[in-house]
Symmetry: C2
Subunit: 394 residues, 2 copies
DNA sequence: ACTGGTAATGGTAACGCTATCATAGGCATA
DNA sequence: TATGCCTATGATAGCGTTACCATTACCAGT
């Protein structure tokens, strides 16, 4: 099974203040009590046990200590901790003061056990872009700041035959408070079914409203496509190509849809030979760009479904001896770090990834915490075009 | 305080199988029992309560169920879960079979509560490079695969006045099983002191052995610098510059040290005017490169402490009308994604970030799980040079 | 004053696991 | 046979919190 803990717990002497010095008979009698990982264990141990009866001696204070000092039952302390409205203001203040004084914080595990639900928020994702992932993690963490939640991450592979089983085990065992689902896991209805079945709350981040507003952060990728098209048509381009991501990604579809709409505003169409589907990768971007650049007449601009593919276009352009933006304008999507490291700097569509993560986590938390739940409000986000050097007049 | 939970728990009807249908009098009588986040709540609730006495009906099985079915005490089941050697093989197999059959998995919170330690491994980091962070997260997660541990992440800012307090609260409250510390938090002795004081195990990932082998993964960055120097001197360069990271980063110091040693092998020195300290950023890389490229005689090669600064060199070279590698060879460090997107492709020193994370987590877990603790063995890793297009003969 | 309702609080039993200590059996030694 | 020691197992008491169901205090309405 999972374990290996029983034998270990006893082996190391002074780990985690409450640890016993006793020798667990069950433990494998291996290397004796020496401290393996960190130094100064002796010192750490020193202020630990010794006076097991003294109420507030060494150990972290518990709800019982607070209750005793405040002359109330621990249930009342619990009420204060959990913001129950049924506590007299005076009582609440007295208890709060003691909590602050002792630096008490409830044990998340005991709380979770009694609450039948942990204080862990999961982020399940299969997005391969490090910057995207890190930004969103940071957003989620920012929303959790000051709360007692923690973030547990779970990259995954939707192709894996065990995907659903793994996710179910993860969410169910940890009794996750909720999960944040960025694209493209957010689009996986099988996963949603699993989460619904076990009753775990979730927020889906996606480019279209796949669910009720309460559980969505909608990113309106199509507006990014629209803006890209407008920018290019305003620059006088009329023969404009698109390299999209895989069509089974909603984002790819939405970006393309907005782009087509933007062209239509200028009376333009996206002819078949200028409309190519790739895989959101550098290599496929380069390959498809090579084809486009060999066309006669050549397109004068290319809008790419992401920056990776735009970098591929740069390569193809170099290989074809074409200059950006002189011969060909390029727009990416994501505004990744790369966009401002490539030469020339890449014009790109930017999504506020950090904020998306923050909003998602905030919704998850708000569902439960706020007096007046804002939860049914729509949460939407709009991409913006960041113009740099890779686009110029036709 | 932290909370806001008491009022919420009762509000949503069928969340998390075990949830009661009762109305908690303490709960704020807000929006009644409607399901806010996920759909199908009614269905989920259906198979929940109903038969509260039936032993294995709807609820997840507990250790008691296993014990009853196996006709042993729950302590013995616990022994099996935790790989205690003091269980007869026959008994173990009987219990394991039932565990497998029922798909039982121990509740991490209950386990943690009793064990006085959670099954969460923390990663505390202040590394700003998304790719680094994500790779290391993945490595840690890979090491945890198949265990019952989960990863909790914690980006931080060492300049923040609350840094140490926050970290202490985090580690102490969550009773973390252990933490992984990549550079540069791994170099922070104040943090180490805090961790030692509360007795939380840790693994430090750093370019030099800052601690006993048991708690280190050493990356030997200096060898990367050495290889870079050798590569350039072999190509016939003799006027070679270095742009290093901030000297208070051990990595920056080590990379430079190895580089100097490599030059020395060829009888070369790093003269003061070719030895520049920057901040690991694109901008400072560009600025310092501009200065170097204006020198007469100009250096014919530049080794940068990371890829970001190398990208800055690219910019400076373009601005100065110099070609890479024709006029100037460039080497980076990190082998980031950017290295193979820049033009020309950047020669760079690569560290196996993923493996470093994996090794660190494995050490943390092994300390406790393995029969024979490998923990005192040194864990070391060596960077390799990835030669691409940005370096050529002098 | 009596009733009834709501606000505020408390007692006790969970929650699901491990620690601790006790005990039963087996086997070698005296 | 008695003794001791080791192996395998169990009984019970926590771990620190919240759920559940009282119970008390208070106040308005009759």
């Amino acid at each position: 099974m999972a374990g290996g803990v029983e034998s270990a717990g006893a082996r190391r002497g002074g780990q985690w203040r409450a640890a016993r010095s006793a020798v667990n008979r069950d433990s494998a009698s291996l290397a004796s009590g020496e401290r393996v990982i960190s130094r100064k264990s002796a010192a750490a141990r020193a202020d630990t046990g010794a006076t097991p009866e003294g109420p507030t001696r060494g150990r972290r204070p518990t709800i019982n200590d607070i209750a005793r000092l405040a002359n109330v039952s621990k249930k009342t302390v619990s009420r204060v901790i959990n913001d129950s409205p049924f506590v007299r203001e005076e009582t609440r203040e007295k208890i709060s003061a003691i909590i602050t004084e002792l630096g008490f914080a409830p044990d998340p595990q005991a709380r979770g056990l009694a609450f039948r639900r942990s204080f862990l928020i999961g982020m399940i994702y299969d997005n391969p872009t490090p910057q995207y992932v890190v930004n969103m993690q940071q957003g989620i963490l920012d929303a959790m700041k000051g709360t007692s939640f923690e973030l547990v991450i779970r990259p995954c592979n939707r192709q894996d035959p065990n995907f659903l089983l793994d996710m179910r085990a993860f969410v169910e065992r940890q009794k996750l408070f909720g999960v944040v689902l960025p694209p493209s896991v957010s689009e996986d209805e099988r996963l949603i079914d699993v989460l619904d079945e076990i009753g775990c709350p979730y927020i889906r981040i996606a480019s279209v409203a796949l669910d009720e507003p309460a559980s969505m952060v909608v990113t309106h990728d199509h507006i990014g496509g629209l803006e890209a098209a407008r920018h290019l048509t305003r620059l006088g381009h009329s023969r404009i190509a698109h390299i999209s991501g895989p069509s089974l990604f909603r984002s790819a579809h939405e970006r393309r849809r907005g782009f087509v709409a933007g062209l239509a505003e200028a009376g333009l169409k996206l002819p078949k030979e200028l409309d190519r589907e790739a895989a959101y990768t550098f290599e496929t971007g380069a390959e498809n760009a090579a084809v486009l650049l060999a066309l006669k007449p050549r397109p004068t601009a290319i809008f790419c479904g992401n920056d990776e593919m735009a970098a591929g276009v740069y390569k193809a352009a170099r290989d074809a001896g074409l200059s950006i933006p002189g011969d060909i304008s390029v727009i990416g999507f994501d505004d990744s770090a790369m966009a401002s490291r490539l030469y020339p700097l890449l014009t790109s569509v930017k999504l506020p990834i950090h904020d998306m993560g923050q909003m998602a986590a905030a919704k998850l938390i708000a569902t439960t915490r706020e007096k007046r739940t804002h939860t049914n409000e729509k949460t939407e986000v709009v991409p913006t075009l960041v113009v740099r050097e890779s686009t110029a007049a036709a």
